[in-house]
Symmetry: D2
Subunit: 385 residues, 4 copies
């Protein structure tokens, strides 16, 4: 065994819960506390005990908490060691139960440990992972290191599972590449976090980034698509903004939706909603009652973002039925996912230093690569038929 | 030209509106009345005027309305002629503006003309086509002939458009195959109507049937997957049930949703909702306030169906967070699309002859191939890991 | 730990070599003998030593060779144990170096151990795995148990690798399902062995079955598509025919191919070739010199099978340029892969008990699900346009 | 009708034959001369006769040959007219019958008419379209205008066909975008010509560019991926090199290939071959007889290029079995298609001004975007596992 000195990268793994660390109790899966690290320590591909002992790694990292929470991967091809410390939350959460408070907790932990680590991996349930990834992407301002959410569809304690490979891939990328984004790694692909949505509840290939190609593919080799990686052009200091407005909601249009339903949904204390419209951002334009409710709400100060309920595509103003919404004061959500739009709204509405116009302007801008804003002026596109 | 006698099939085309027949007015698309048939008559692939004249077709079909509304396709390879009559609605509708009333109108027209035609093609906007296809699938009881919805992403009046091919394919299938289902034909694929969802607002390949393979592929050859085609095993007479309950809604869960929002959404006169949950049908199980609202509603008689907000997959009871919902009285929506679930709910709730238990039982059954109901007993599946 | 008695299934793993068991020597990968089983024994997901000891498994299976070559998987959900014995070939082979003799060795080993095991897993390099799977499918006559080839793109000794999951999936299927076919398992999919081709040299998703859907998908659950599984309707005794004719070849057409090249390729001792033609089975029909060579060869007794060089699709007789080949005496290969066609040819030509006509007839029949033979009479297809 | 003056772009359409212009004769498809333009003139989406007459277009373009061969598309959205002249070859060819001479004829016609047109569309059968596109990409030196090959799977004379849309899309791109490449347009996608291969004989989506994303997608809008478009950085004058060496061939490895077969294939006058190897460029390294034949050939001056028989991926030097070939003198073909490699070999071998080393060097360079040459030094890739 080679334990000669080599470069070490440090990764902080924040274990918030999720299927990856669940066990069956009475035929139902729920999180199992204080078990995850123990399981990892038994997997040679995820921990090299011999290296740890011979290099006295545990002594060296003794300030990072209990020594058993620090592990080390086998030697990478680049002659590098990735040392990672697991910080387990208590209680562990099924991601269905995640709230804005939990997002803030994660954000604060990244901020607190930012200087000491080269990258961050967040273990998280898949159900709301796209929401949390979106939220963190806005909360993390001037990010200069990788923050990668991952998890699994089958617990790491099962024989066949996707947890080992997802964790390993996330660690290797977080420890070796300077991708200054909040990302999501799943089934051999690295995505921009605010671009994904969960599309399959029964497949290992659970996520999709419908309007942006993956940032990286980890097949036989790991290939980074550097052209797609976000560059913020900033020298500002990293900070996490944990202020998020909770009075926001997601409303999907459906045929026969009543003005009454819309009115109830939009009533105070609601301050912002993402309206999931049809196709290219369309809604009924012959429903005066409905449009009236939208207009009333925007006049009352409620900010509404128009996103399509289609998996792929963008909100445009090609149709009369789409124009009605923009006339009613809705902000075009372009090609944002509903998840990203909801989190952006929550982030922007919390900016009490801004007036309504400034908030709307901010919503219309591309803040973290979450959308292609310049739809009309797109020089590369020629609509022709 | 060959105008010798040959078998003729008759198809009724009901033009409800949609992009396929829209024109630009001030840079915005809206439906153009009384123009569609005129455009078709000029397209040799969609009308063979010479055959019409030489066989005195117009005289023969004079009872089907104005002669200019009956057209005939060129000779098919099977030595068959498809004669089709276009019934244009007034006003033509952008499908965003479709309501339950419009579904009933279409249903009644199919019923009225059922005996005279071999198949039906419904031209419809893409935005709510999946909803209308789902609704018609339930409304049409004991259907024995094909009813095929289609439309396009680009108007037939534009140079490059998908309308010609979609209409032509739908006519050829409706006139030549006995597929006794409400279907949706788009971009060379025939889908079961209550299985589709619009997934792309900017591509010709706009629809997807995430949990069921297409019924047919129309590539160089038209291949029908007969094993998948629905067989109702019925000798009952075809009828259309136009009773649909309008007090139904679609509510998508999101992190931070408040009990207040849920309560407002569920208040009277709401009688049924489809809850779009996370992953395999999960919702927060640590939110007593939320679960309380669900329980209150079901106790008040509101029926709630649990569908996943994932594109693919099915609602199961594997997770503690999913079990909470079933304990709160929600009906498992299995692998139904939200569109199908909403229409099924509307159809079942209108059955005033049934009590609540019977309605719930009916919702749990596979009525028109809209879902795979037998999730637990699935003999072909072995969950192993 | 649960070591209570449970059903046991037995699987024989024949390790022929390939990337899955390779190591780097001077930056180049080559097979590493006597290392594979040792590596498996250290992976808890692939071996449960405690169960082995407590149940005295090694004593029980002591007749199966050295005890260290028998391993046991952790308990399956169906309360079953899969006990597997590894038979390592010496020398281990890079699959590039596989020959007809090696196919015979594998076949004989399956035959020898047929009664004692419930299923067979063949570890094999990916480069010629599709050829070996095709060959074994024909050599194994009246097969009643699963024979599953697998391997990996990255060695099991590397940190990130696909070998663990491929081996585990193959074992679970071989030990639990009666799929009486020679199959290939890779990247969560089980394919019919004579339908696959290697399509990607750099991705974990290396194989494709272009003209037949997978037999099973192993995602969160393992789902078997029983409708597709081959049923031979035979009660004959299983046997392996190791006679394979070696005087067969694969020739791909290209523009400008000379009659001289064809003549050289077809010269004795060549007895049969698969001609990879264009599109639907087409070749130049204006090249009298070329057609002359084909005709000469068939008249000399060489049997030629016409397969398309396209990944997907089938050989038909729609084109004048395709008809020329059938006139020259070539047998239509329908939708067979070139790999399957080559092995079928080798198998059929070895049947010295048959005359040329009987051999051609046999080639035109669907022997092991390797093709859809009835192209013209396909009732489900209607070519219409 | 708007016939007001507008910008006109001119496109030359060279009709070489292929399915797009075929008709059935005795149930077999063959090219139909002097019929194609007549058919186009009857299709309003492909010709606007009224504009032609009112603007006296035929007079203006009278020097371009018979007036009936010049047509004009309806007005594009950019207020532009695309005027195109069809040059029909005689005889029309099924693309199976295409030879190096035909490539030269096409090349010379592009050169002859280069100044007068803004772009070129080549109608061609699909069977060898990938070969011709590859050949033209090398023959056209310092190209500054689009040359787009297209065709169809079903003749334009059939009811359902893909010919209209393929021709229309190719014309719109050739007339409106300065993409200085030899391209292939099919089923709504524009590909680099030397990157494609025909993958499906029965689908409209017949082509695939396995190792390079499309240059453009023509869905509801036409989107050009300008980052992918080739820029030659040249100010040299356009010229067509019609010298192509015909003594080249394509040889696919298969298990059991004999040294005799290889020797026959490589014998004079063969001067260069593309060897289709396994996986990442592998061949048997335990077959001294085979390697001997390769070595003999390279020593005799035959140049051999190593390409993979996998659809996707690249030739590397990771395996001992791959290293044997590079030791035997084969040139690494990187991620070239066999079609591109064959044509490049034919082009390079015709350079009689170069010695063998210079030819090998040229083969190893990326000349027209046909491959990614820098495999080892790829900075963006980190092989890690």
């Amino acid at each position: 065994l080679d334990v000669s000195p080599c470069a070490e990268a440090r990764v902080l793994v924040i274990n918030t819960g999720g299927t990856i660390g669940m066990m069956y109790h009475n035929n139902v899966l729920s999180p199992e506390p204080n078990a995850f690290v123990k399981a990892l320590r038994k997997l040679p591909i995820l921990h090299d005990e011999q290296y740890a002992l011979q290099t006295r790694m545990y002594d060296y990292y003794s300030t990072s908490g209990p020594q058993e929470n620090t592990l080390v991967l086998p030697l990478c091809k680049q002659n590098k060691r990735i040392v990672y410390t697991v910080l387990e939350y208590s209680p562990l959460l099924d991601s269905c139960n995640m709230t804005t408070d939990d997002w803030a907790t994660i954000g604060k932990d990244i901020e607190k440990h930012y200087e000491k680590y080269d990258g961050f991996v967040i273990l998280h349930g898949t159900d709301t992972m796209a929401y949390t990834a979106s939220a963190l992407s806005f909360m993390c301002e001037h990010l200069g290191k990788p923050v990668i959410l991952t998890g699994s569809q089958v617990p790491i304690y099962e024989m066949r599972n996707d947890g080992r490979d997802n964790l390993l891939g996330a660690l290797l990328i977080a420890g070796q590449f300077v991708i200054p984004e909040v990302c999501l790694y799943f089934h051999n692909k690295l995505y921009r976090g605010n671009r994904v949505t969960k599309v399959d509840s029964g497949s290992f290939n659970a996520f999709n980034s419908p309007n942006l190609a993956p940032l990286a593919n980890a097949e036989v080799d790991i290939k980074i698509n550097w052209d797609t990686v976000w560059r913020a052009n900033t020298t500002s200091r990293f900070r996490v903004s944990t202020q998020m407005n909770r009075n926001v909601g997601l409303l999907r249009l459906f045929p026969g939706i009543t003005a009454m339903t819309v009115k109830s949904f939009l009533q105070a204390p609601m301050e912002g909603i993402v309206l999931e419209t049809y196709g290219s951002g369309n809604a009924p334009d012959n429903r005066a009652d409905l449009l009236e409710e939208f207009r009333n709400a925007t006049e009352r100060g409620v900010i509404m973002v128009n996103c399509t309920q289609c998996l792929r595509g963008s909100v445009t103003t090609s149709y009369a039925t789409g124009k009605a919404l923009s006339d009613a004061g809705l902000v075009a959500g372009c090609d944002m996912t509903p998840e990203a739009a909801l989190c952006k709204l929550s982030y922007v509405l919390a900016r009490t230093d801004l007036n309504k116009e400034a908030k709307i302007k901010m919503l219309s801008q591309n803040l973290r690569g979450e959308m292609i804003a310049d739809l009309q002026g797109a020089k590369l596109t020629l609509s022709d038929s």
